[in-house]
Symmetry: C2
Subunit: 237 residues, 2 copies
């Protein structure tokens, strides 16, 4: 049983679940993966907390984790890049494995024929916390971040997507992706759930392959669940 620690935000969780369903080879309801999902919208803003401007989201995330454990989850995924800042702290609280979104990206990179260099498009919180840089460097990958001015443009674009101004955001994100490609990035990670929505509307040639980390995490979850079906369901009391 796959547990999803979600609600950050709620529509990103819905999108992640649809990616789980679409990535599952199934011809009838009963072929699909069993899931239990906590849409924990009470979790305070993650970027604000990382930047020291908001309350600690960990207690609410831990509460959602406990609900997933009680429901019988045998592995857990978190469809929010920034929330992975608390991945280690959450994993320390449970014996249920929590898949890491950056591992899903690194595993995808490891399947490339040449050595990839990864450019990052993400929120200030994800960048500031070093969520991708640290784990990818440990795995031997080079991770290229936008400079401060470019990062400000990326954040402006993310806010435009949230305000529904997708076309304007697409232009900004397309240019920043092109700039990362020009710096030698072979791949660009769209490491905020708003970014793929906008970049889909960009019709230029970025010059690098786009990676969608939540889709890669969904694929990793499906592989993990289908590899050990006997573990998929744990009886509840």
């Amino acid at each position: 049983m796959l547990g999803i620690l979600g609600g950050m935000g709620p529509m990103a969780t819905v999108d992640f679940m649809s990616k789980i369903v679409r990535n599952t080879p199934a011809s009838r309801d009963q072929d699909h993966i069993q899931m239990v999902v906590c849409s924990a919208t009470d979790v305070p803003d993650r970027t604000a907390a990382i930047l020291g401007q908001g309350s600690d989201p960990f207690p609410a995330m831990l509460n959602a984790l406990r609900r997933l454990e009680l429901s019988g989850a045998t592995r857990i995924a978190i469809p929010c890049n920034t929330a992975h800042h608390w991945h280690g702290a959450l994993q320390a609280e449970t014996s249920v494995p929590i898949l890491h979104i950056v591992d899903a990206v690194a595993d995808a990179l490891s399947r490339q024929r040449t050595t990839p260099t990864l450019g990052m498009l993400a929120t200030d919180g994800t960048v500031h916390a070093g969520i991708y840089q640290q784990r990818l460097t440990e795995r031997g990958y080079v991770c290229v971040m936008p400079d401060a001015k470019a990062q400000a443009e990326v954040m402006r674009a993310i806010r435009l997507v949230k305000a529904g101004l997708t076309d304007e955001a697409a232009g900004i994100l397309g240019r920043e992706a092109e700039a990362l490609a020009a710096k030698g990035c072979s791949h660009i990670a769209m490491a905020c759930t708003e970014i793929p929505l906008a970049l889909a509307a960009f019709d230029g040639d970025i010059g690098a392959a786009l990676l969608d980390p939540t889709d890669l995490l969904a694929q990793a979850c499906v592989r993990s669940c289908l590899a050990t079906p006997q573990e998929m369901v744990r009886e509840v009391a």
Copy 2:
């Protein structure tokens, strides 16, 4: 905390969750309703069971209900029309209120200025079990079903949607909806999750208002949760 007894099928559950999110007045993650969702894909086929051709889905549904209770759900919704055949049996097992999809439809009808007559487009299972007819008649509404030949066409169209042949299904469902309108129906309930996907592509004038029961159930859930926010979260052990 809204509990969703889902997975019947999994994509219909994803669609229902997105309807919950879209129907919630919110400007940030924290304004959204907390949800716990069981995508119980182990529940056997509901229509097959109603027609005496499949195993009993009740034990697996009850297991999912228990998981939702353990997770702290204070009200529950089931985004599957046919599964409502077991609504009473499930409600008898729990003190947590389970909202009924037909009540959501009846409540929408009660807000009409004139007395509505409801035409039904649904699976053989939903029709055979009398899920809509019985509850709507109790509420004083007239419920008009397609005749046997027309019902066979509706089922054919539902199977076409499942096979991805939406355009062909749209023509069939549009004609059957027009036929119900010609019989005096002021409203048509699209009481199977596949039907709205196809009827959206029908460009004729049906001559009756189309109702989407899962969207009405989502609206009822949002109203119920926002009316008693203090009940929304029950602490788990």
